[in-house]
C-alpha cells in the first residue's frame, strides 16, 4: 500500500506542476494558439529539439515585443516521436480539443497522412517536409512553408554546379545518394530531368539506407563512375557516416548536402570529414552577418547561455516569425481563423525576414514561398557562403510535381 501511496503522490505532484500554471494562463482571453507537432523523442529528435527551441524563443521574443497586436502567442507543442498514429492523435487533439487555427508539422509521414484531412478540416499548416506537391494550392490550399522545396533546392545545387563549371571539354558529372524512402526519392525525377536540360551528366544512383552504419560499398560503386559531385539526401547523423567513409576512401568527388543533412552536427559528427564539402541551404546559418540575425543571437545568448546556436534553431525562428506576421495581418483584418490566416499568407509579397531566408511570396495560385538558396562550404568548422542567392525561375514545368 505504501508503494501505491508513493506512486500516487508522485503523479499528483507532476499533475499539480503541469495543471497549476496552465489554469492561470487559461483565464487570459487574448491568447492566440498555434500547434507544433514535432519529434522530440524519436529518430529525428535532435533536429526537432533545436527546431522547437527556435520556435519557442521566437514566440517569447514576439510576446516580449508586443505580441500579435497585443495578444499573446502561445505554441502548444506535442511530441509525435516520428510515429504516424501518434502524429494523427496529436493532430486530433490540437484541432478538436485545443482548437488551434493552424499548426506546424515536422514528420513527413504525418504530413502525408494528414494532407487530405487538413484540406477537409481547413487548418493552416506550415511544414518541415518540403515536398513539391504541397506547393500547389489547387490541391493543398492550406499548406505553406518558408523554404524552397527539396526538389527546388536540388535543382539550385545543379544550377550552381553548372554555372561554376569551368571545363568546357565535358559536362560535370553528378551522382545521387539517398535513403530508400519517400524523402530520399522525392527529388530524383525532377532533378534528373533538369540535369539533362542544363547539361549535367547523372551517374548511377546509390541507395544508402537509414540508419547508416557503412557506405563504403555504395561509395566504391559510385567511384567507378567517378563523378565530380555527389548530392546527399540524408540527415546529419547518417550523412556524417557517408562523409567519413568518403574521406577514408580518399574520393575526389565533391559532396553537396541537402538541407536536412547540412547542419552544424554534421561538422562535429563527421570528425573533420565534412571539411571542404558543400551544402545547399535557404536559411542563414546561426550568427551570419544579416540584419535579422541580431535579435536571434541576442535572445539565444540571453536565454541559453553556454549552448551553441544552430541553423535549425534559426529555421525555427523563421517559421514562427513568418507565422506571426500572418497572424498579425489576419488579426488586423478581424479574421483570426484558418481562412483568414491563409488569406494573410497569400498576401506575402517578397516578405523580408531580414535576410534570414530568401524573400517570401505566396499567392493563391502558387505556394512556392521562395525558389532561392545559397551554397555554403564548410571551412574551418564553419559554414561559409560560396555563392550569392542562386535563384530558379518560377516555371510551371516543375510546379507541384
Amino acid at each position: 500500500m505504501k508503494k501505491c501511496t508513493f506512486v500516487i503522490a508522485c503523479l499528483a505532484i507532476v499533475m499539480a506542476l503541469s495543471f497549476g500554471p496552465l489554469s492561470n494562463h487559461a483565464g487570459a482571453a487574448d491568447v492566440i494558439k498555434w500547434g507544433v507537432l514535432i519529434d522530440l523523442s524519436g529518430p529525428t529528435s535532435d533536429w526537432g529539439k533545436n527546431q522547437v527551441k527556435g520556435q519557442l524563443d521566437a514566440m517569447r521574443w514576439i510576446n516580449e515585443h508586443g505580441g500579435i497586436n497585443g495578444k499573446e502567442l502561445k505554441l502548444i507543442v506535442i511530441d509525435d516521436g516520428y510515429k504516424v498514429p501518434r502524429g494523427v492523435a496529436g493532430y486530433n487533439r490540437l484541432v478538436d480539443s485545443e482548437k488551434v487555427p493552424g499548426l506546424y508539422i515536422q514528420s513527413t509521414g504525418t504530413s502525408m497522412t494528414l494532407a487530405k484531412k487538413i484540406v477537409a478540416d481547413g487548418i493552416v499548416t506550415t511544414a518541415a517536409a518540403f515536398y513539391n506537391w504541397f506547393q500547389d494550392p489547387a490541391k493543398f490550399p492550406y499548406s505553406f512553408y518558408m523554404s524552397p522545396s527539396y526538389n527546388d533546392m536540388a535543382r539550385i545545387a545543379l544550377k550552381w554546379v553548372r554555372t561554376t563549371w569551368r571545363d568546357s571539354s565535358r559536362n560535370p558529372k553528378i551522382c545521387y545518394l539517398y535513403p530508400d524512402n519517400g524523402y530520399g526519392r522525392a527529388i530524383l525525377e525532377t532533378s534528373k530531368k533538369y540535369a539533362g536540360q542544363i547539361g549535367v551528366d547523372v551517374g548511377p544512383d546509390q541507395i544508402i539506407n537509414w540508419p547508416t552504419k557503412d557506405a563504403t560499398v555504395q561509395l566504391t560503386n559510385m567511384n567507378r563512375y567517378n563523378p565530380d559531385f555527389a548530392y546527399i539526401t540524408s540527415t546529419a547523423m547518417n550523412g556524417a557516416v557517408i562523409l567519413k567513409n568518403a574521406k577514408a576512401l580518399g574520393l575526389k568527388t565533391k559532396f553537396i548536402s541537402n538541407i536536412r543533412n547540412f547542419e552544424e552536427s554534421l561538422i562535429t559528427l563527421s570528425g573533420g570529414a565534412a571539411e571542404g564539402t558543400y551544402g545547399v541551404h535557404p536559411i542563414a546559418p546561426y550568427g551570419a552577418p544579416v540584419p535579422g540575425m541580431k535579435k536571434i543571437v541576442e535572445s539565444h545568448e540571453k536565454w541559453h547561455p553556454g549552448e551553441t546556436g544552430t541553423n535549425v534553431y534559426v529555421e525555427g525562428w523563421v517559421n514562427i516569425l513568418c507565422t506571426a506576421a500572418a497572424l498579425k495581418m489576419a488579426d488586423k483584418a478581424g479574421q483570426l481563423n484558418p481562412n483568414g490566416i491563409r488569406d494573410a499568407l497569400n498576401q506575402f509579397r517578397n516578405y523580408d525576414t531580414g535576410g534570414l531566408a530568401p524573400p517570401l511570396t505566396f499567392t493563391s495560385k502558387d505556394h512556392r514561398g521562395s525558389t532561392a538558396a545559397k551554397i555554403y562550404e564548410i571551412k574551418g568548422g564553419k559554414m561559409l557562403p560560396v555563392s550569392d542567392w542562386v535563384e530558379l525561375p518560377r516555371d510551371q514545368e516543375y510546379f507541384g510535381k
Binding site: 507532476v14 499533475m15 506542476l17 503541469s18 495543471f19 497549476g20 500554471p21 496552465l22 494562463h25 522530440l40 523523442s41 529528435s45 529539439k49 522547437v52 527551441k53 519557442l56 514566440m59 517569447r60 502561445k74 505554441l75 502548444i76 507543442v77 506535442i78 511530441d79 516521436g81 510515429k83 504516424v84 498514429p85 494523427v88 492523435a89 496529436g90 486530433n92 487533439r93 478538436d96 480539443s97 513527413t108 509521414g109 502525408m112 497522412t113 494528414l114 494532407a115 487530405k116 484531412k117 530508400d180 524512402n181 519517400g182 530520399g184 526519392r185 536565454w303
Partner: protein, 347 residues
C-alpha cells in the same frame, strides 16, 4: 443453496459468463460503449477507435504469443498487409468494403501462415527473429511494389461504405470498430475454450508433452499464426480507414513492439489481457501527453527536459511489469476480485 461458484460439469466450468453479476457488468459495459459517441468529444471518439483497433490486434497477438507461446515481432507488418489488401481491393478493384475487409483478413492469414512455417523448427528467440524478418520483408515489399502500393509515397484509402454507412465519418467508424472488436473478442474467447485453444495452451506449456498426447504441433502452430494474422488483417484494414492515408511508415517494428508490450502489461494468456493492456497503454499515453504538453506550455524554456518523460515512463512500466507483475494486469485483477468477493471476511 451452494455459496460461491460450484461447477458440477465441464459445460458449466467453461461457461463464458460464470455468474449473472458478470453478465450484467458486460452488458452495462456494452451499453456504455454504444452510448459513448453521444457524450464523447470528437477527440475521445478518435481515441476510442484507436483503442478498438488495438484491442483487435492485441487479441490476435495474445492468441499467438500468450496462448500458443510463439513470440511475434511482426504483428504491425501483418496489420500493414491487411491495410493494403483492403485499401487496394476497395480502391483499385472496386470490391465492396465489407468483402474487402474479410479478404484482408484471409490474405493476411495466408501471409501469416507462410511466415509461420519456420515455427515448426524455430522456438523462442529464434522464432522472434524469423518474425522480425517478416516485418522487414513486408515493409520492403510495400516500399518497392510501387504500382500496387504507391511505394514510398503511400496511398490514399477510399472510405469504406456499407449500405447507408460511410466510414469516413468518425462516429460510424467507431461503431464498426466496436462491432468488430466485440466479434473478435467473442471469437477469441470461443477459440480459447475449444479443442484448438486447449491444444494451443498445451503447446505453449510443453510442446513435447503436447506432441506425445497427440497434438499436431505443425497444424496448431500454423493455425495459431493464421488466426492471429486474420485478426491483425482486420485491425490493419480498420487502421487504414482511420488513418485515411497509409505509407510503409505506418506499420513499423516499433508498433509491433508496442503491441507486444500492451499484451505483456495486460497479461499474456488471459482473455482480459488485451483490454487491460490496451486500456492501460492508452490512458498512460494520453495522460503523459497532457502532462507533457501542459509542462511544455508552462515552462517553454525547458521543453527538452520533459520530452523524455514518456519514453522513461513507458520503459519503466514494462520493466516493472516484467519484474513485479509478469502475469500482467489481468492477474492483478483476479487478485483484486478474489479479495472483494470475500470482503469483509477475507482470511
Amino acid at each position: 443453496m451452494p455459496a460461491g461458484l460450484y461447477h458440477e460439469n465441464y459445460r458449466s466450468d467453461e461457461r463464458i459468463f460464470q455468474t449473472w453479476f458478470v453478465r450484467i457488468w458486460v452488458i452495462a459495459f456494452l451499453i456504455a460503449c454504444v452510448l459513448f459517441p453521444f457524450f464523447g468529444s470528437e477527440y475521445m471518439i478518435s481515441t476510442m477507435i484507436e483503442v478498438g483497433i488495438a484491442i483487435i490486434a492485441c487479441h490476435g497477438l495474445n492468441l499467438l504469443t500468450g496462448f500458443t507461446g510463439q513470440i511475434s515481432l511482426g504483428h504491425a507488418a501483418f496489420m500493414g498487409v491487411g491495410a493494403y489488401t483492403c485499401s487496394i481491393l476497395v480502391g483499385q478493384a472496386g470490391v465492396p468494403f465489407i468483402v474487402a475487409l474479410f479478404c484482408a483478413g484471409f490474405v493476411t492469414a495466408l501471409v501469416g501462415m507462410i511466415f509461420g512455417i519456420p515455427s515448426l523448427r524455430l522456438r523462442g528467440l529464434y522464432l522472434a527473429m524469423a518474425t522480425i524478418a517478416a516485418q522487414f520483408i513486408i515493409e520492403f515489399t510495400i516500399r518497392r511494389w510501387d504500382n500496387l502500393t504507391g511505394g514510398v509515397e503511400g496511398m490514399y484509402v477510399d472510405p469504406g461504405t456499407l449500405g447507408p454507412f460511410h466510414f469516413d465519418d468518425r462516429i460510424q467508424l467507431y461503431y464498426l470498430t466496436f462491432v468488430l472488436a466485440a466479434a473478435v473478442t467473442m471469437a477469441t474467447k470461443n477459440i480459447v475454450r475449444s479443442r484448438s485453444g486447449r491444444a494451443f495452451v498445451a503447446i505453449r506449456d510443453r510442446y513435447l508433452a503436447a506432441e506425445v498426447i497427440g497434438v499436431n504441433l505443425f497444424k496448431y502452430r500454423l493455425m495459431s499464426f493464421a488466426v492471429s494474422s486474420f485478426f491483425a488483417g482486420i485491425a490493419g484494414a480498420l487502421m487504414a480507414q482511420y488513418l485515411e492515408v497509409i505509407t510503409h511508415e505506418s506499420f513499423t517494428i516499433i508498433q509491433s513492439v508496442d503491441y507486444l508490450a500492451m499484451c505483456i502489461i495486460g497479461g499474456l494468456g488471459h482473455m482480459l489481457g488485451g483490454f487491460f493492456g490496451v486500456g492501460f497503454w492508452f490512458i498512460l499515453e494520453r495522460l503523459l501527453e497532457v502532462v507533457n504538453t501542459a509542462l511544455n506550455s508552462a515552462y517553454p524554456d525547458h521543453v527538452t527536459w520533459f520530452v523524455s518523460i514518456r519514453e522513461i515512463v513507458f520503459g519503466l512500466v514494462i520493466i516493472l511489469f516484467l519484474i513485479f507483475e509478469p502475469d500482467g494486469l489481468a492477474a492483478r485483477w483476479r487478485t483484486i476480485r478474489a479479495y472483494w468477493k470475500l470482503w469483509p471476511f477475507s482470511y
